[in-house]
Symmetry: none
Subunit: 231 residues, 4 copies
DNA sequence: TATGAATGAGGTTTCATTCAT
DNA sequence: TATGAATGAAACCTCATTCAT
């Protein structure tokens, strides 16, 4: 049995994860690698500053202290650098190698909370990128598809976990595991979007606490007595 | 005390509601009004077909069987027609004059369910527009702000309702009403977005049922015995 | 023999005077005349505010509280209203029905001074219009021609006056009367342009005094002793 | 002490001189410099042919055998090329490194005459440009300001010279030096404008002679016996 | 690999003028 | 006479992409 916590950081509805396949061969020389890296870093800065739509390739080249010609040595298009930017960020979104738990019931609360916290923190670090991804997904069907697929992978896994909790008599059996999984994942990711991406900037402890309680209540579990807190 | 049901259809996190202020004086003649209306309708079709970004004003004018000059007689920019399009859609999103309940506890489930259903149905009818709004909100700070404000209005109202339920001993008192309100609203709107806007096209009955159960469970209420259902 | 004073107010190099021929028949009804007048007045205000180039016919119509359709009832084009505006201003530029003198030598200084003062004052009242005329003359050959012709009429007259002064032994005979006339007229009109039209806003008394002395000195006349003054 | 002759060609009321600051970085490659130069030359031809207002950027690009995109590589706007055109012309207007005189009184006439002649000749060569400048100054406040400032620099210098001539007892002490300076500068520049820019095309010798005599007479100096002049 | 000049399709915007009412 | 909606030619401007060096 896997906890939801184990999976969430790998995607959690965000679709921020990118296809592993390299868009093109990486440069061979060390110099080339450096140039490519500085282009990706510059692209991220420019995207976050101006948005994907309003960004210009020349700005990216300038920001990377290279020429536009050099840009085309490494990337074929804006979409391609954007993919590269996401690939880098992906490492951070995944980074917290979270506990794959087979947890005793009384520990689940703690694991869920840790997982939610890790997710919110990662989201916070990459909030501007998430806005970008949101933007690009509304424009480009490829990115939209990517995101839906990632989301499905995650919710399927959570659904299986919910199913097994139900079987074990630990969760409300009247719930549809898949739809419930989608709903709860939506809840957390959207909360993060409003707080970090749209700048609502709510108290993270309160977000973590509320999210964790709601998962528990919603699934028909019970949380040990705790101190209420608010934003 | 207002129930969530009474408020949700008026906004529910969508931010689809537009400022009431007219963007500019409406045309005086009947002919002018007809032209303006056909431009708004054409704009909606073009936006939904091509997206806001990829749409061209000339296409809108052509679709409305007018000249581009006529477009500028009524609107100053793409943003302005888009606002007009939202204003029209808003009527539909608000339309279901839902029961303002002071409900007996045993009826709350029914009211919540009706409210959720109405919301999902309205969302379905305007799904493409919601994608558009999502897109525009990532590009234009004004629309982003509009949306955040609308969302706040709605979640504040729900928070007050949750608070009063807690006081009446009908809801889990350990929950932060405001954060809980945000989380639950996020859940429903995001579910609708994935299903209708991103084309996941899930079973609406299942969505309504799951959403309603989760609100109940999450808030620590109890639902009368019911038949399980799935997607 | 005519004094320069007598002619200057009729034009003095400005070319502000417009062809007397009506551009089209004036409206017959009293109502029509009123509408036309308010259009001309509105046009002047708009031209002075926005310049000829940057003005829009719709603004003129709006300013006159009529419609653009009505504008075309009275005028065929922007040029045509502009002509009408000049015709009205012309009355003011001419207005000071100055003394046609056959002056005793000792009075010429006074007449010249009065004439210069009248010219500067009229120019001041119509300064914004003079900027406009300058602008239009650089764009439209018709207005340019008009202005050159007017200028010639004036300088010819002054040249004849200079010639007769030379014959009478009252002016430097080594001067070419025509070129001198052009030079002196240029001097006064340009001085006015800088002060009033370009906003240098010099002291008018000083301008009058200097202009009068320079005409006198330049023509080889002598002025009775006077108190020096400055800006 | 500088003579008016020494300064006039540097400005003389024309305001044709442009700010030295480069409008933007010049192109780095030789090819780029060539392209920029041909654009400036083409712009001048088009401006002189069609006027500033009626000129089109596409015409300038075509005339320079480049694309409109290339135009925007070097200039941001019509105003900016116009500035560049003026900068080039400025070299010609300034070019005659005129005698900086500390002249014996009997030589002043000759210096003044040479100065006037140089000014008229330069004006003649750039006459069409002066029309343009006149036009642009009536439209664009920046150019208007530039021109007023240039004019002030020049007239201030002349005023100081007049003042020192008065102190030396060589000029009419009843004249206000500054206003006199403005008047005389106006006279010469306007004469040139009518003759060369508006196409009156008067005899240059006569213009030079008249201008020189009038300066002399006006300032209360005396000219040695002279040869009769022509029309 | 790196450079940056050159390109031009494609969009937006303006406004004098027409014309049906 | 008065109205104001409709028109569309004509200009402006952007920027991803190509390519010679």
């Amino acid at each position: 049995m896997s906890s939801p916590g184990s999976g969430r950081p790998e995607g959690h509805d965000t679709g921020s994860l990118v296809d592993e396949r390299q868009v093109r061969a990486l440069p061979v020389t060390a110099r080339g690698q450096r140039t490519r890296e500085s282009l990706v870093a510059a692209a991220r800065r420019v995207f976050e500053r101006d948005g994907f739509i309003n960004s210009r390739l020349t700005d990216i080249a300038t920001e990377a202290h290279t020429s536009i010609g050099t840009f085309y040595t490494y990337f074929d298009s804006k979409d391609e650098v954007f993919t590269a930017v996401l690939q880098v960020a992906q490492d951070d979104m995944l980074h917290p190698g979270l506990p794959r738990v087979e947890e005793a019931p009384e520990n689940i609360a703690g694991v869920l909370e840790a997982s939610n916290r890790a997710y919110f923190e990662a989201y916070r670090r990459n909030a501007q990128l998430m806005v970008l991804l949101e933007q690009v997904a509304t424009i480009n069907p490829d990115f939209r598809r990517l995101r839906v697929e990632r989301s499905r992978l995650f919710t399927d896994r959570v659904a299986r976990w919910i199913g097994s909790m139900q079987e074990a008599g630990l969760a409300d059996r009247s719930l549809d595991p898949l739809m419930t999984s989608r709903a709860l994942a939506s809840m957390v990711s959207r909360l993060a979007y409003y707080s970090f991406a749209l700048g609502e900037d709510w108290d993270v402890d309160s977000m973590v606490d509320t999210a964790t309680r709601l998962w528990f209540n919603a699934l028909g579990m019970t949380l040990p007595a705790s101190s209420p807190e608010s934003a």
